[in-house]
């Protein structure tokens, strides 16, 4: 490859354009990216271009050039580093360009991960404040939201990071997680806007993340650990697959049935729909057709949510509500997807005491993992390696048949008798 000829004339790096001619445009031509301005779905490229043309931030021009270059060469050009703020060990994802000789304007392009309010509920004042600070110190580019739940403020120079953080922190914002520690969490809409909510996940989310705020900012465990809070088993946060600690709302007693609404439903949709769309889809055949109506055998119900989803006016979760804790979810790396597994079938989650009890338990769990885990080993991997039973013993948790889908099919164990 040729030497850097300056970012504003990037003919050398395959962009096939020059900045001459149309002096009115701040940006260099990006013909590949421009293809992504076509079509009806909102275009991030258009968004970036508009922002750049308005703010004339060189970093934005640089990052567009580098992205165009990636589209041409089909390779990425960022490398990591270690930018952070005073007293924290994580929260800024550091990016230096590997081709800053070619495109110096985006030599640095760090991301600040910011923890949003649980449930991603905002008022416009909060958002506008954040936008103003971000426009002042950073690129003005952001993601709502990252997969772990952070607001990602993308594109800032190291020099501005501390001041930007201070300004944000003054307004109630704090950095999110990164590295081998507690991570930012996600909550579903929860009791704020959902009739299925079985516990106050927003409250617990706030509580739990504050509890672990030190370990989030100064990561020093084996690897990352993530909470997600879904207020019912529909699991709108995908917690089972992407969190080490999935806190899922559930209930213990019978589903609440409003008979009149059931009748109304059947009158409107018919018995066929009742059979085909509700009764036959219950995973455990807990529902039977009785005199043209439905009867739920609570003992057979596994709290899957289906019938409640299908008949939201008529059915709702029982009254004895709380959470299940599933553990060990994570995605593909190294071991293949691990879905979280049910560890605590039920815990009440109503009072401050309930929450404290829960936090104590989670601390014990993490302590066990910190002792028993290997470097870069998620807690689900540790449990699998060491053994579920050993984990339960280690943390002092009760054995429950709900923790497994079946008893073992091999006789290969040494019992204590």
């Amino acid at each position: 490859m040729e030497e850097n000829k300056g970012a504003s004339s990037c003919s050398s790096h395959g962009c096939n354009h020059s900045n001459g001619g149309r002096g009115e445009k701040f940006l260099n031509p990006t013909p590949m990216l421009d293809e992504l301005e076509k079509g009806p779905w909102p275009s991030f490229v258009s968004g970036f271009k508009n922002l750049a043309e308005r703010t004339k931030k060189p970093m934005l021009r640089g990052v567009m050039d580098q992205l165009e270059y990636s589209y041409n060469t089909k390779m990425g050009y960022w490398k990591g580093g270690l930018v952070t703020v005073d007293g924290y060990g994580a929260g800024v994802i550091t990016r230096y360009s590997m081709i800053k000789d070619k495109i110096p304007e985006a030599a640095e392009f760090h991301t600040m991960r910011i923890q949003p309010p649980p449930g991603l509920h905002y008022n416009t004042a909060m958002l506008r404040e954040m936008c103003d600070i971000w426009e002042e110190y950073g690129s003005g580019m952001l993601t709502l939201h990252g997969q772990t739940g952070d607001i990602m403020l993308q594109g800032i120079d190291e020099a501005n990071v501390q001041e930007c953080f201070d300004k944000l922190n003054e307004k109630g914002w704090d950095l999110g997680g990164a590295g081998a520690g507690m991570r930012t969490a996600v909550s579903c809409a929860g009791p704020a806007r959902c009739e299925q909510a079985c516990y106050d996940n927003l409250e617990l989310h706030l509580h739990a993340l504050r509890h672990f705020v030190g370990q989030l900012h100064r990561p020093e465990w084996n690897y990352k650990i993530k909470f997600k809070f879904s207020a019912c088993p529909n699991d709108c946060t995908n917690s089972i697959m992407r969190s080490d600690l999935a806190v899922i709302g559930t209930w213990k007693d019978a589903i609440q049935v409003e008979e009149a609404a059931v009748t109304e439903w059947i009158e409107e949709k018919g018995v066929d729909a009742l059979v085909n769309q509700v009764i036959n889809l219950c995973p455990t055949r807990a529902i039977s057709l009785q005199d043209g109506g439905m009867k739920i055998d609570t003992r057979d119900c596994v709290r899957c949510m289906h019938c409640l989803n299908a008949m939201p006016k008529a059915l709702s979760p029982g009254k004895e509500r709380g959470v299940s804790l599933l553990m060990g979810g994570k995605n593909t790396l190294k071991v293949g997807v691990n879905m979280g597994s049910l560890i605590i079938p039920f815990m009440k989650m109503e009072t401050e005491e309930d929450r404290e009890k829960f936090m104590k338990l989670v601390e014990e769990i993490i302590d066990w993992w910190d002792d028993s885990g290997l470097d870069h080993e998620r807690i689900g991997e540790t449990i699998e390696r060491v053994g579920l039973r050993q984990f339960l013993d280690g943390v002092g948790l009760d054995v429950d048949i709900n923790q497994v889908s079946r008893p073992r099919d091999n006789p290969y164990f040494k019992a204590k008798y």
Binding site: N50, T73, W78, T124, Q162, C194, T237, C282, L333
Partner: protein, 359 residues
């Protein structure tokens, strides 16, 4: 990094508080919602025990946003929702108002600004996705671009509710798959063992970490040109890319050899069937910017078959379980091949341990 003139003393506050973010009607009925309806695509109506109703208008965003765009959204919220809005876990934005009469004008304004209203009920919602070339240090593609191309072709499916059930899509720029399991996922597939940049390696790599990272113990220390380096046993290597995350000199990405795979049947909800992991149904699709037409086409085939054949409430994976994998491949025109036979840790559990057979 530390600025000596700092005056502000950090408050380690954790997540931002949420109470003030909630609409007064939400606060009033917090925890006391009774049921919901979906009166039209993109609109939810929640009714509280108190009788209050709350209307939610949902719209798609590009996820890669700008302050300008966020301010636009705030304008809408100020105009129609007393300054309240929220985002969904799939990057959609939601506007909440008790005023039914605000719904139609709000939809008009949003659409006029280019934000499609939809994404609720039995539709294809927005794609959960990842950083890509824009920001990550290990990506083989640009997730945002793939997603934009895909959603252009699925625009109508976002705005209507014609699917058997919700359809969740995801896209990820490396096999780590930060985007997650979904009904249909488009994920980079590495196809070659990492090439080792021996010049760089000794400088930038913590050797034992890289060695430990490999799940199949394919990496061994070695010496190249007098410098400590690593070598990969290519027969063992499963192209997982884990070493690249630990050591940038283990170059797993390649402009031609980094491909795409299509996955189906991921399900995270507990509704009906237990949550399920995804299965691979296509690989070797080219990484073809700027519009990745091959990927969009494959996803389209699957959605067409599912839309035609799925029964009410059947998620993609549940539909396949009913009709069988054989028919899935027949009806989508995708091809099952030997690489799709599991060979990893619990492979045996995927063998057909029965005489159940479909012809």
């Amino acid at each position: 990094m530390s600025s000596p003139e700092r005056t502000w003393k950090t408050i380690e506050s954790g997540p931002h508080t949420y109470m003030e973010a909630l609409h007064p009607v939400v606060r009033k009925n917090y925890g006391n919602w009774k049921y919901h309806e979906i009166p039209r695509p993109g609109v939810l109506k929640h009714v509280a025990e108190s009788g209050d109703a709350l209307f939610t208008v949902r719209a798609g965003t590009p996820r890669q946003d700008t302050v300008d765009m966020v301010r636009q959204l705030c304008d809408i919220a100020d105009r129609y929702c007393d300054g309240h809005l929220r985002f969904t876990v799939r990057n959609n934005v939601e506007f909440l108002t008790p005023k039914e009469e605000n719904v139609e004008p709000m939809i008009r304004d949003l659409e006029a600004m280019g934000f499609p209203v939809g994404g609720a009920g039995n539709c294809v919602s927005s794609v959960s996705h990842t950083q890509g070339w824009l920001h990550c240090d290990i990506p083989a593609t640009d997730a945002s671009g793939v997603v934009k191309s895909m959603m252009d072709s699925l625009y109508d499916e976002f705005k209507h509710m014609e699917m058997p059930n919700k359809v969740r899509l995801s896209t990820s720029c490396c096999s780590i798959n930060c985007g997650g399991q979904a009904d249909i996922a488009v994920v980079v597939k590495h196809t070659r063992p990492p090439r080792i940049n021996h010049d760089n390696l000794s400088m930038i790599c913590e050797l034992p970490k890289a060695v430990a990272r490999c799940p199949v113990a394919a990496i061994r220390p070695t010496v190249v040109n007098g410098k400590r380096s690593l070598m990969v046993d290519e027969a063992k290597c499963i192209c997982c890319g884990a070493c690249f995350g630990a050591c940038p000199a283990m170059e797993i990405n390649h402009p031609e050899h980094s491909k795409f795979a299509i996955w189906v049947g991921g399900k995270n909800s507990n509704a009906r069937s237990k949550p399920s992991t995804m299965s691979i149904v296509a690989h070797n699709l080219p990484n073809n910017p700027p519009r990745w037409p091959e990927v969009t086409e494959a996803v389209g085939k699957i959605l067409t078959a599912y839309k035609a054949g799925g029964r009410p409430w059947e998620r993609v994976g549940e539909w396949i379980n009913r009709i069988g994998w054989k028919r899935f491949f027949e009806e989508t025109g995708l091809i099952f091949d030997e690489d799709m036979i599991d060979s990893y840790r619990h492979a045996r559990t995927t063998f057909n341990q029965s005489a159940h057979v479909r012809f």
